[in-house]
């Protein structure tokens, strides 16, 4: 039993699959997120795959501000990700709305709608920062498993 638990733990540590949702960002953070997955930064070294399907994801990476139309979608996607999951807010907009915080159709950061585990500041954050965030989220995932949250 303990052995199996350890296997599962290794699995969760080494294979974080990522769902990226562009929630109204200016594309800056999106292309940096994509860049993380391309050869120069190659997040697949850590087992990261961009799955594009909430049902397969472990890490929910959100970029951009939340507006009135996409808040529901953000929430839906969040609900569709199976436990254990970690939510990453990438970029200033996702953290707080950034420069758009006062814009008429902007509600604010991602954490107004769903609980965020890790914040990655920057406008846009460098790929290295996103990679750091992913590595940090792996630790969080491991903690969640250890605390029996599955």
């Amino acid at each position: 039993m303990k052995f199996i638990k350890r296997l599962l733990l290794t699995g969760i540590k080494k294979s974080p699959w990522l769902l990226h949702f562009d929630c109204g960002s200016c594309n800056g953070c999106d292309i940096e997120t994509l860049a993380v997955l391309t050869p120069v930064y190659d997040a697949e070294r850590f087992g990261v795959i961009n799955v594009g399907n909430p049902k397969h994801a472990d890490i929910f990476l959100v970029t951009g501000t939340v507006n009135r139309k996409n808040q529901e979608i953000l929430n839906n996607l969040y609900l569709q990700i199976p436990e254990p999951k970690v939510i990453l807010a990438v970029g200033t907009c996702a953290l707080s709305g950034g420069i758009f915080a006062e814009a008429p159709n902007v509600i604010g950061g991602v954490d107004k709608i769903i609980p965020v585990d890790i914040y990655i500041p920057g406008c846009p954050p460098k790929p290295e920062a996103i990679l750091e965030g992913v590595l940090k989220s792996v630790e969080l995932l491991e903690d969640k498993v250890k605390n029996g949250k599955i």
């Binding site: 960002s25 292309i31 950034g98 846009p124």
Partner: protein, 358 residues
């Protein structure tokens, strides 16, 4: 006849941005495509009422992260025109160089995503590897990889030293070589031709009628390029719009690919002609009146309308972006194609939704 309705987007792996298409499909042939927008709308035009004209530069830079520099350029030139500010020539050249770098970065990014849309993963990676070089140039010369924030009213913030110029030329040479390497792949690979030729055909008349702009228009054989309006330093540089005749996805790829070489050439010309001098002038006072300014973005013509009242806030700022102009053409192109070609055709106009919805 039984039909299938596919909610294509807002979150969908092939779409880099939230955009919705309600596709009605019959045997995987698209019968109808209803676009749905509004997932990225922030209302940033309204921000001009609370952020002064200097701060608005940072806002318009974030209309779209991919062509941020060119948005800022358009904004600055428009305001400067209203205020009658004469920008120093060196600043004009620097603006040109950075904007062409942005165009290259955008086209490379697009070529990658386009390769990805027909499932050519390694080609996608190849283009993004080339693109990293341009981002390095951006980072080294301007301090940030994507949103460079170099423009200010009356000039630019940063200067290019001679070493930097040499380095840029060396990097460009390397990029050119790497691009030459994939030329055969793009134009002579059987599978790529199979997936792009004849997909999403737009004739020149249709393109003009539907108001398409940029590479979409040029790929249909209409030689129209807003850089011919001679803003920034383009009046002193020598170039011809790149065009193709077929008007399909393949032709759009062709146009964008050759525009990369055009941009390299323009940067080289600019670097060879760049004059010495100051890089900015001090701007005092505030604009008044109305103005319209158009520049060529990687995706086509962007259109800025300003209305100012002499205070530090603008009355109205209106941005019409190229993707907005290309969406009618896209909706037309989407009908009658296979579902597998939907991503190819959507990407062939290089949609930038955050531009479109602002």
């Amino acid at each position: 006849m039984p039909k299938t309705i596919i909610p294509f987007g807002p979150q969908h792996p092939v779409l880099p941005e939230p955009l919705h298409f309600s596709l009605t499909v019959e045997d995987e042939i698209v019968q109808e495509a209803i676009p749905g927008f509004g997932y990225v709308h922030r209302g940033l035009e309204k921000l001009c009422e609370i952020k002064d004209i200097h701060k608005m530069i940072q806002v318009v830079e974030r209309v779209c992260g991919i062509c941020s520099k060119i948005h800022a350029l358009c904004y600055c030139e428009g305001i400067e025109q209203m205020m009658g500010v004469e920008v120093p020539p060196r600043a004009k050249y620097l603006r040109t160089i950075w904007s062409e770098l942005h165009r290259m970065h955008s086209h490379l990014l697009w070529l990658g995503l386009f390769a990805d849309s027909f499932g050519f993963e390694s080609l996608f990676y190849h283009f993004w590897r080339i693109r990293e070089k341009i981002l390095d140039i951006n980072e080294k010369t301007a301090g940030n990889r994507i949103i460079v924030s170099v423009n200010i009213l009356g000039g630019v913030k940063r200067d290019l030293s001679t070493e930097d110029q040499k380095w840029i030329l060396a990097e460009l040479k390397e990029i050119e070589n790497k691009l030459e390497e994939v030329k055969d792949t793009l134009f002579k690979d059987y599978t790529i031709s199979k997936r792009t030729k004849g997909k999403g055909i737009l004739s020149a008349e249709e393109a003009l009628y539907l108001g398409a702009v940029g590479p979409v228009l040029r790929a249909s054989g209409v030689a129209q390029d807003c850089r011919q309006l001679q803003y920034a330093a383009f009046s002193e540089l020598d170039f011809e719009p790149v065009i193709a005749q077929e008007g399909d996805s393949f032709a759009r790829m062709q146009v964008r690919y050759f525009e990369l070489f055009q941009s390299i050439d323009l940067i080289r010309q600019a670097l060879s002609k760049i004059p010495e001098g100051p890089i900015s002038v001090k701007v005092k006072g505030y604009p008044e009146g109305e103005n319209v300014f158009r520049v060529e973005q990687p995706r086509g013509e962007v259109f800025y309308y300003f209305k100012a009242n002499g205070s530090k806030f603008l009355d109205r700022l209106r941005i019409r972006t190229p993707t907005f102009a290309n969406v009618p053409a896209l909706a037309k192109m989407l009908t009658g194609i296979e579902l597998a070609d939907v991503p190819v055709v959507i990407l062939s106009i290089d949609p930038c939704i955050s531009c479109t919805e602002r």
